[in-house]
């Protein structure tokens, strides 16, 4: 360990693959960027690791671990590039994936699109078996016909992966497991997922869909991990490879291979984790993590240093990012909102005759008009260029130049003239409306979760996040915005701030009056053991593992549950106090007195976590392109004319890498770094703190 003083974080994004190299002994982080290689994402990872180690004079043998985040699984689902997958279901329920929720997500638009099931009906087969809600086997499994069904799927459809999805398998997985064992023996080349193993929760459509996602992405994810493992081995890597999950924990490759669906939001989760890290380091109660990239913005809420979590995700939405238009994934995840507002978002005129921005995006090709690749529609990036926030000669640190006349032409022709606006007013409108859209999404997300954002701090990152953040904060009446150091590789750094962790949930409807403390432990202890397995496999012993129990509970007769976190006071004592814990949560939520109804536990959740990673506040960041530590005098680069809604304002431009701790900058000001530009809006003041984060304070009305 004394030799292995380095840790690496690698996050693959749409355009760039980001790297962070942490030197534990020196508490220094070096960062690196490499163009993403979409045809084989592992190539950029391996090339980048070599390049970064070479640049920093580090031997790969001195690297203890490499933590990896990737959106490979999400992309495979969005682009439908997964394996040819088959599905076995309980007889008489073949159509469950097609019937879905039997609900429209928009009442007025009669032309809704719904996502096609990942496994089309002709690749599903019915199995004779039936388990009841209490786990009782009502009809025995016909294993022979199951084998025939799998053989048929292999021979007629050429399936590479199989999802085994039976009713009530969360209550009794025996039939799913028996089929799985048969398939592993008779069809060793097939990738197999069973629904209760992937998600042991109630609700067949959601569980089966989650399992089919897992199966669908397993072959591809397996191959990808193998390439990374082999490539790293060739480089001489002798440390441990960790993969980031959607909930911000680390897994060994073996567990990750089994549950690729848990990696859906792996990269974005790492960014939120880093926001949480900064929140803890700066002692902030409530944080809004805000990332705005090329096509979408992502937001998350952090309370008391912990990101809010969810186990209800929706993937690959098919209708303008609308909630309900995607596929459900029941996996533990950081609770993120995705907003159809990014640099490439296109401005248009709606049916009311008013200006709108997004969710349609110019993407990377043709991209915004100013990319000069033939895009003719005005995008947010075009507007920001016209408003002076971007330097046409210093985009991506000068790696790309922007065509300002093309941006102006696009805005004039597609928006300003039809609406009778000046081009500058239209550009400001695009900027302002995008901010309003993000602010609105945050407001609703926060108020649905009872999160008071008004005294919160926003932490902004991503290509365009720092550019829009202060204006959004002003709309939300938020007093502070932080532009963290290393914001351009935020997710890669977040990978260094993540512990090993795993979560296991299971639906088992139980009235608490029907069990005693021993019965309570009888259900929880095996669940905790399953959750701990991946951590034990990583070499941790029980003393190093922190366990947290959460229970979804409700009164008998109520249709919805409330999640109760059980404090770490021993299971027997926790059981005795369950009604009190529930009552407290209940009264807080509804403002009415608790009821005198039987209480039931519906879903049981065990979350286990290894020791905190070594990343601590106070590290320094080196290796940033253009970095010149201590060169404060060189920070002021020049000035540009910017438009903040009204008059043209001459605005000083600073080089972020030249700023030293304690510097105070009065807005309006632009602070440029390679990946983005921090816009300090007029009338507000920003300070560079000791860790070189930029902290901007806003005057807010109380």
């Amino acid at each position: 360990m004394s030799d292995q003083r380095y840790r690496i974080g690698v996050d693959i994004g749409g355009t760039f693959t980001d790297f962070a190299l942490f030197d534990e002994a020196a508490a220094e982080i070096a960062i690196h960027k490499q163009l993403t290689t979409p045809d084989d994402p592992s190539r950029a990872v391996l090339e980048g690791v070599s390049a970064m180690l070479r640049d920093n004079g580090v031997a790969i043998g001195d690297v203890a671990s490499l933590a990896h985040g990737t959106t490979l699984v999400t992309n495979a689902l969005i682009e439908r590039k997964g394996a040819v997958t088959g599905m076995l279901v309980t007889r008489n329920f073949l159509d469950v994936p097609d019937m879905a929720r039997e609900q429209r997500y928009d009442l007025f638009d009669l032309r809704l699109s719904f996502p096609e099931p990942l496994v089309p009906r002709d690749r599903r087969r019915e199995i004779t078996e039936r388990v009841e809600f209490d786990g009782n086997v009502a009809e025995a499994l016909d294993l022979q016909s199951a084998e025939a069904a799998v053989r048929d799927l292999v021979e007629t459809s050429g399936i590479q992966a199989l999802a085994i999805c039976l009713l009530h398998a969360y209550a009794n997985p025996a039939h799913e497991q028996a089929i799985e064992a048969m398939v592993r023996e008779k069809f060793p080349d097939l990738h197999v997922s069973t629904s209760a193993d992937v998600h042991a929760g109630l609700g067949e459509w959601e569980r089966w869909t989650t399992a089919s996602m897992n199966a669908y992405t397993q072959p591809l994810f397996d191959r990808y991990l193998s390439r990374i493992e082999e490539g790293l081995a060739e480089l001489g890597f002798a440390g441990t490879l960790y993969i980031m999950t959607s909930s911000g924990g680390m897994l060994l490759p073996e567990t990750a291979r089994r549950y690729p669906v848990r990696m859906l939001e792996s990269g974005p989760a790492a960014g939120v984790l880093m926001s949480a890290f900064h929140g803890r380091a700066l002692d902030l109660d409530n944080v809004l993590s805000f990332d705005l990239g090329g096509t979408t913005a992502k937001g998350a809420l952090v309370r008391g240093g912990e990101p809010l979590k969810t186990d209800q995700m929706e993937v690959a939405r098919v209708h303008d990012f609308k909630r309900g238009s995607g596929l459900p994934a029941r996996v533990p995840s950081v609770d993120m909102i995705e907003i159809g507002a990014g640099g490439g978002s296109i401005a248009w005129i709606d049916e009311r005759g008013l200006l709108k921005v997004g969710p349609k995006s110019a993407g990377a090709d043709p991209g915004p008009a100013c990319y000069g690749q033939g895009g003719e529609k005005a995008s947010l990036t075009d507007a920001n260029l016209m408003l002076g926030f971007l330097d046409p000669a210093f985009f991506l640190g000068g790696a790309m130049s922007l065509d300002k006349p093309a941006a102006e032409r696009a805005i004039t022709q597609s928006v300003a003239e039809p609406l009778g606006l000046s081009a500058m007013r239209a550009a400001w409108g695009i900027h302002d409306i995008a901010n309003e859209d993000v602010a609105r999404a945050f407001r609703i997300h926060a108020s649905e979760r009872g999160f008071d954002y008004r005294q919160a701090t926003m932490i902004a990152f991503g290509g365009s996040g720092p550019l829009q953040a202060m204006a959004i904060a002003a709309k939300l009446n938020i007093p502070r915005v932080i532009f963290p150091i290393g914001a351009g590789v935020m997710s890669a750094m977040g990978l260094l701030a993540s512990p090993l962790s795993f979560e296991q949930a299971r639906t088992r409807r139980t009235f608490i009056e029907d069990i005693d403390a021993a019965g309570f432990e009888e259900i929880l202890v095996p669940l905790i053991e399953i959750a701990k397995r991946p951590l034990h496999a990583a070499g941790l012993d029980d003393a190093e593992i922190d366990t947290r129990i959460r229970l979804d509970m409700r009164y008998f007769g109520q249709g919805h549950e409330i999640e109760v976190t059980v404090p770490g006071i021993g299971l027997a004592q926790a059981f005795a106090n369950l009604p009190a814990f529930f009552a407290e949560k209940y009264t807080g939520l509804f403002g009415v007195a608790p009821l005198d109804e039987p209480l039931e536990i519906v879903t049981w959740k065990a979350e286990v976590e290894g020791p905190a990673p070594p990343l601590r506040a106070g590290y320094s960041v080196t290796g940033a392109p253009g970095a010149s530590p201590g060169a404060g005098a060189g920070a002021l680069k020049g000035s540009r004319t910017c438009y903040f809604g009204g008059e043209a304002t001459e605005t000083p431009v600073y080089d972020r890498y030249g700023l030293v701790a304690g510097t105070v900058i009065q807005g309006p000001a632009l602070i440029e770094e390679r990946e983005s530009t921090c816009v300090i809006t007029p009338g507000h003041r920003a300070t560079v703190d000791d860790a070189l984060n930029i902290v901007a304070a806003l005057e807010v009305s109380s």
């Binding site: 159509d95 039997e102 609900q103 009442l107 007025f108 638009d109 009669l110 089309p120 067949e204």
Partner: protein, 548 residues
């Protein structure tokens, strides 16, 4: 600020301020949903939140409103202000009613209004409407023969002062409902959401320096009205009619409508519709009006936010005393059972005039109330939903098992079996049930439920489309009709039955109607239907003349 439209706001500032008003309504909705007690509010979104100006015009409505709440709030507010004139209102007052004729058509819906004060000046109103879990009487359904059977009817009243519920009214409601905690819990959520709404509106006014909401309301109304007129002008002027029959509880009921389109305006009337019946399915006019406006919105600009301007070009009427303009004391508890036919009635009238916009009939939802005893002896009282197929549109097949015009999520098989102790033997799409057409109607489904509780179990059904199937238009054929079977024998789908242990109830849901001639269907689409089991080879040959 430059002025290009019919208002003092340009296309940027109006976009931002208008959408902000809608966002405020949405934020009030999320507070209401988060703090509501009952499932009907939290999961079914059977609620609405609106913001109105001092002239009583609706400026913004929460995005997730169900159709029944379109256009009702301004009328409700008008009645409220007649009884409690604006100059008598104080900050913290809540005015409420559940009167079907003043509110939204049945007594389950409570409307709560709170005035918004900026300083000591009244600048507008917020109103929330939710479906309460119980309001006494016979309970949810159509069994009542008079409105007096349907529970507690609250005339317009000052429900809260200084934000605190009137103690007498609270006691009155507690005394009259079956689930007082749930009902009071939802009433508290309504009071609370209106309390947070007002300050959001005044903070918005501060931010944009607005002294009053009226200029913004003028602009919102004018833009909406202009957009709506432009869309209505796309439909050729003329008078269009439709006459259908639907199934009543005591025999067929005629329904009729005429839609007159003239120069960007629409006049809709329901003369020719049958009279009221002594069952709880009569429709007060406010509900007929809402469903008519819903249909016109779907046909014109689905994404246009709801407000008073958007409905100005549309006039709706129905003869007093007919089923769609029911008068007291006819009961109205299940007014949706009839009212949900209104959109299809209007679509049918406009089929030739707006062929690329209208939708063929939907198979609609099937709601079955189940009461009995679980295997463990605990009581069961719950509702099962199953959806028929969605009607086709020109250019798009109707969704299979997609509900319309109402919208409730299905109860998953695993959840249903857990809460009832029954067994769902089968839940499957019915092939050949979607109405054939160039664009196929959505398929229906078959659900078989077996009483495995070990106790007798009572079911109540109020299903339709058993006699008159969902119609197709423009050459499209009807979807398959709905059938209920008890132990294999067809039974009346509007009946109540007791299932002995082991008995089976089978619900076969109707398919949606098709659009366009079946022979014009793209053969590739028929092949796809065959591969995915939506159409059988025999059905393809019979309905489409298609052979492989």
């Amino acid at each position: 600020m430059s002025s290009t439209g019919p208002s003092a706001f340009d296309a940027v500032s109006l976009s931002i301020m208008w959408d902000r008003m809608v966002a405020i309504a949405d934020e009030i909705v999320s507070t209401l949903v988060r703090t509501s007690f009952s499932t009907i509010v939290r999961d079914s979104y059977d609620l609405s939140v609106v913001i109105l100006d001092t002239k009583g015009r609706l400026m913004a409505q929460g995005t997730y409103a169900v159709p029944v709440f379109i256009g009702t709030a301004p009328r409700t507010l008008r009645y409220m202000l007649e009884k409690f004139p604006p100059e008598t209102l104080r900050p913290g007052d809540i005015i409420a009613t559940n009167d079907p004729w003043i509110g939204t058509g049945h007594m389950f819906d409570i409307s709560m209004m709170r005035p918004i004060f900026k300083g000591d000046r009244l600048v507008g109103y917020t109103m929330s409407i939710t479906h309460l879990p119980d309001i006494g009487g016979l309970g949810f359904g159509a069994a009542a023969r008079e409105i007096y059977h349907e529970g507690l009817r609250l005339p317009i009243c000052r429900f809260a002062k200084d934000g605190v519920m009137d103690p007498f009214l609270e006691e009155l409601i507690r005394t009259n409902v079956r689930v007082p905690e749930q009902t009071i819990g939802d009433l508290v959520a309504n009071i609370a959401c209106n309390e947070v709404g007002g300050p959001m509106v005044t903070a918005f006014m501060e931010e944009y320096g607005l002294e009053s909401l009226e200029p913004l309301s003028d602009a919102i109304g004018a833009h909406s009205e202009r957009a709506m007129r432009a869309k209505l002008e796309e439909i050729a002027d003329g008078r269009y009619e439709n006459h259908i029959q639907i199934e009543g509880t005591d025999g067929p009921i005629p329904m009729a409508c005429s839609v007159e389109i003239k120069g960007g305006e629409a006049v809709i009337d329901f003369a020719g519709t049958g009279g009221c019946v002594p069952r709880g399915i009569n429709v007060p006019f406010c509900y007929t009006n809402a469903m008519s406006l819903y249909a016109m919105k779907c046909l014109t600009i689905p994404a246009l936010p709801n407000n008073s301007g958007a409905v100005t070009p549309i006039t709706v009427s129905a003869p007093k005393g007919c089923l769609l303009n029911a008068q007291p004391p006819f009961p109205t508890g299940g007014r949706h059972a009839i009212g949900h036919f209104v959109p299809g009635l209007i679509f049918g009238a406009l089929a030739e005039a707006a062929p690329d916009k209208i939708q063929a009939d939907c198979g609609m939802m099937d709601l079955m109330t189940v009461q009995g005893t679980h295997r463990d002896g605990r009581g069961i009282s719950t509702i099962y939903f199953a959806s028929g197929g969605f009607g086709a549109l020109q250019g798009g097949d109707g969704g299979d098992c997609v509900p319309g015009p109402s919208n409730m999520a299905v109860v998953p098989v695993e959840v249903w079996e857990t809460i009832t102790g029954t067994t769902i033997e089968k839940k499957a799409i019915v092939p050949d049930s979607g109405g054939p057409g160039a664009w196929r109607g959505g398929a229906g489904q078959e659900v078989v439920i077996r009483n495995d509780t070990g106790h007798p179990m009572t079911i109540f059904c109020m299903a339709n489309r058993t006699e008159f199937p969902p119609l197709g238009y423009l050459g499209g054929k009807p979807g398959a009709r709905r059938v209920h079977r008890l132990n294999g024998a067809e039974v009346d789908a509007k009946g109540s039955y007791v299932l002995a242990p082991g008995d089976r109830i089978e619900m076969v849901e109707a398919g949606g109607g098709g659009i366009g001639e079946p022979r014009d269907r793209d053969p590739a689409m028929i092949e796809r239907d065959l591969a995915l089991g939506r159409v059988t080879p025999e059905g393809a040959a019979r309905d489409y003349g298609y052979r492989r």
